[in-house]
């Protein structure tokens, strides 16, 4: 007897709802197991995490600080994923956005009229992220180079470049040797809403609304969806795939770049270590869990940010490792990834049948090499 997957007639809605719920339960149970092993009451720890992430206005603002870059990069990544372009380069695109915004804030503040410094930093930072994303896009569109690896490599190049700039040429001369640039002039500060939560939140909401509209209501969005759902058909009905890839990646990189701009102008107000802390990678999880829905990205980004902040909180309050947040994210995503299959397939037990045809072994691919 063996187990086979049988395609369902239609996507099961029940399972679609059930998968995230079961995943959440699984993650919490797994986390509880770890917490018990550490000699901590899991209920107390989870309550402390929730309290630390969502308990009061200050906690919420810290969660928003982490949620904003996750939302922006998550929106960017989901656009690329829509057309099955595996952009795992949001981290590098974010870094380049932050880098260029820093350049504007530090070196163009005196040359530009003061009202225009922040808009210039935002605009140029987005352009930087977009152009960084354009390189793998062009390589994929015209040379069919695998984008997973190129976007990943571009991350490292960007991160090294950023670190080089604040360790070397852009290091604050008055910074007592600490790596990091000087504080930005006030004209380059992104306004804050409460505590450290900043106006980047509005960018994320506006971006989600625009993307939702574009995806649902425009020809461009329609073509993007077709490319993801049926790449062969996309080619047949005459979609310009090359142009589509490049435009979508410019948008994707631009959003990640904007996240970087917000980090340096809204949170750190200088460029230093801590710009690239993995938001671009978590963004992939955000995009995946939200099933590429822009509004879903905002929600999931906020919740995952809560996990991260909650992890920090239990470290401070209970001496538990902050890595708990990361562990829970992983434990949450594994069952979600696996469960996706069951929305389209169901399990069936069958008895082994003779139709597992066997061909002669002579036709093995022969490729010998040094």
């Amino acid at each position: 007897m063996r187990i086979v997957f049988e395609k369902r007639q239609s996507v099961s809605r029940t399972i679609r709802v059930l998968v995230p719920v079961v995943s959440l339960v699984f993650a919490l149970v797994f986390g509880a197991f770890l917490l018990i092993l550490s000699g901590v009451n899991p209920f107390v720890a989870y309550a402390a995490m929730a309290e630390g992430a969502f308990g009061d206005v200050h906690a919420l603002s810290e969660t928003l600080v982490k949620a904003i870059p996750l939302m922006l990069t998550g929106l960017g990544v989901s656009i690329a994923f829509r057309m099955l372009f595996w952009n795992i380069g949001a981290e590098g695109q974010l870094a380049m956005g932050g880098l260029v915004a820093t350049g504007v804030a530090l070196y163009a503040s005196n040359a530009l009229p003061s009202w225009s410094v922040l808009p210039a930093a935002i605009l140029l930072g987005m352009v930087a992220g977009a152009l960084w994303a354009a390189i793998p896009a062009v390589l994929r569109a015209y040379l069919e180079v695998n984008e997973t690896i190129t976007t990943l490599m571009m991350n490292y190049i960007a991160i090294l470049l950023v670190s080089h700039m604040y360790h070397g040429p852009w290091r604050d001369p008055g910074g007592y040797g600490f790596p990091g640039t000087a504080r930005f002039p006030e004209v380059a500060w992104l306004p804050r809403l409460y505590d450290r939560a900043h106006a980047g939140l509005f960018f994320a909401i506006i971006a989600a609304a625009v993307l939702w509209f574009v995806l649902q209501r425009t020809k461009w969005g329609f073509e993007l969806r077709i490319m993801g759902e049926n790449p062969t058909a996309a080619r047949y009905i005459g979609i310009n795939i090359e142009r589509q890839i490049i435009v979508a990646m410019l948008v994707s990189g631009g959003l990640a770049g904007l996240a970087g701009v917000c980090e340096v102008t809204g949170v750190m107000r200088r460029l230093q270590q801590g710009l690239t802390v993995g938001y671009g990678y978590t963004a992939i999880i955000v995009a995946w869990m939200s099933q590429l829905n822009p509004w879903g990205v905002l929600l999931v980004g906020f919740l995952l940010a809560g996990l991260l902040v909650g992890g920090d909180q239990i470290q401070m309050a209970m001496g538990l490792p902050a890595a708990m947040g990361l562990v829970l994210q992983g434990a949450l995503l594994f069952p979600m990834l696996g469960g996706a299959l069951f929305t389209e397939y169901k399990l069936r037990f069958v008895h082994a049948s003779p139709e597992d045809a066997v061909l002669p072994r002579e036709s093995l691919p022969k490729e010998s090499e040094s």
Binding site: I149, A323, L364
Partner: protein, 318 residues
């Protein structure tokens, strides 16, 4: 350049490259069978933390190495189960594995010390350098190649073995067939899923071993972020090496060598930015990837696994 300088650069290259090469060879196995596992970084982390914890508590280095192999394989099993049996997206699954492994290793690193304390900063038994008689006194290569720890010597066996297995054995041929064209392989009676499970887990075991080398020999102890992105470099190296174990040696030497040269340059007080030097391997990887993609004859000759990252399912009914 004098001879002792060359010798010392070689020594550092080899020491820095050992963990990298194990992980790379492991990922070559996985990718040749058609499974892209981006979880190398996470598996190395788990290998490093578990090896050090076991070495610290039991004092047995053999047991530590064994644990790392096992832990790496179990981590990879998660990825294999998701991507082979449940046909999940391999990019996302691998990334999650890295995230999960990094997080869990960091968590365990704060809990596995004596009485649930931190492992950070503890000193445990470590793999010492074992000079091989006669060979180790050879000029230039003696000290660098024949005065290393056991795991580095293990590479001298592991790399040729991988090359032989891949190209000269029937099992290696099946592995490549599964990564190249699973439909045909399946039709010929090769068990696609079983092969993919096997090599993904072997890859994980080797990544765990690479991690063990870091915490037992290279860094000697557990620190947060001990792998420092080596898992990702390994993923890049597989492409750079075009899925070939012997070419992986060149790649690992290049990455490890850049580390070593940098060490030396900092000591000599030069001002060439280290960051620019560090970027070279990543840029080189992109160039290699562009060339092999664009130049189809070469791609066919090197045997890039055509079904890499594509889940395999027999045609379903209904």
């Amino acid at each position: 350049m004098n001879l002792s300088l060359i010798s010392s650069i070689l020594t550092i290259t080899l020491r820095a490259g050992t963990s990298l090469l194990y992980a790379t060879i492991g990922e070559i196995y996985a990718e040749r069978s058609g499974i892209l596992n981006l979880g190398v970084e996470g598996m190395m982390m788990m290998g490093a933390v578990s090896a050090f914890a076991v070495a610290y508590h039991t004092g047995s280095l053999a047991l530590a190495v064994l644990t790392a192999l096992l832990v790496g394989a179990v981590m990879a099993l998660i990825h294999a189960f998701l991507s082979v049996s449940l046909r999940a997206n391999q990019v996302v699954s691998g990334l999650t594995l890295t995230l999960f492994g990094t997080g869990l290793a960091s968590f365990l690193g704060q809990r596995l010390g004596p009485d649930g304390s931190r492992l950070v900063g503890l000193v445990g038994p470590s793999l010492e350098r074992l000079p091989i008689p006669v060979l180790s006194v050879l000029p230039i290569v003696g000290d660098s190649f024949f005065n290393q720890d056991v795991l580095t010597y293990g590479l001298y066996l592991c790399v040729p073995l991988a090359a032989w297995y891949l190209y000269k054995t029937r099992a290696g041929l099946y592995m490549r067939a599964v990564g190249e064209n699973p439909q045909t392989a399946d039709a010929m009676g090769i068990r696609v899923g079983w092969n993919r499970y096997l090599y993904t887990m072997l890859g994980g075991a080797l990544a765990g071993l690479g991690g063990a080398h870091l915490s037992l020999a290279y860094t000697r102890g557990w620190t947060e972020n001990i792998t420092g992105g080596r898992g990702w470099i390994a993923v890049a190296l597989v492409i750079f090496a075009m899925w070939d174990p012997l070419r992986a040696v060149i790649g690992a030497a290049l990455f490890g060598g850049i580390n070593a040269v940098q060490f030396r340059m900092q000591a000599a007080g030069t001002t060439i930015p280290a960051a620019l030097l560090n970027m070279l391997p990543y840029i080189a990887t992109i160039i290699v990837l562009v060339v092999i993609t664009w130049w189809e004859t070469l791609r066919k000759r090197v045997g890039a696994p055509a079904a890499l990252g594509v889940p395999y399912a027999r045609e379903e009914k209904g």
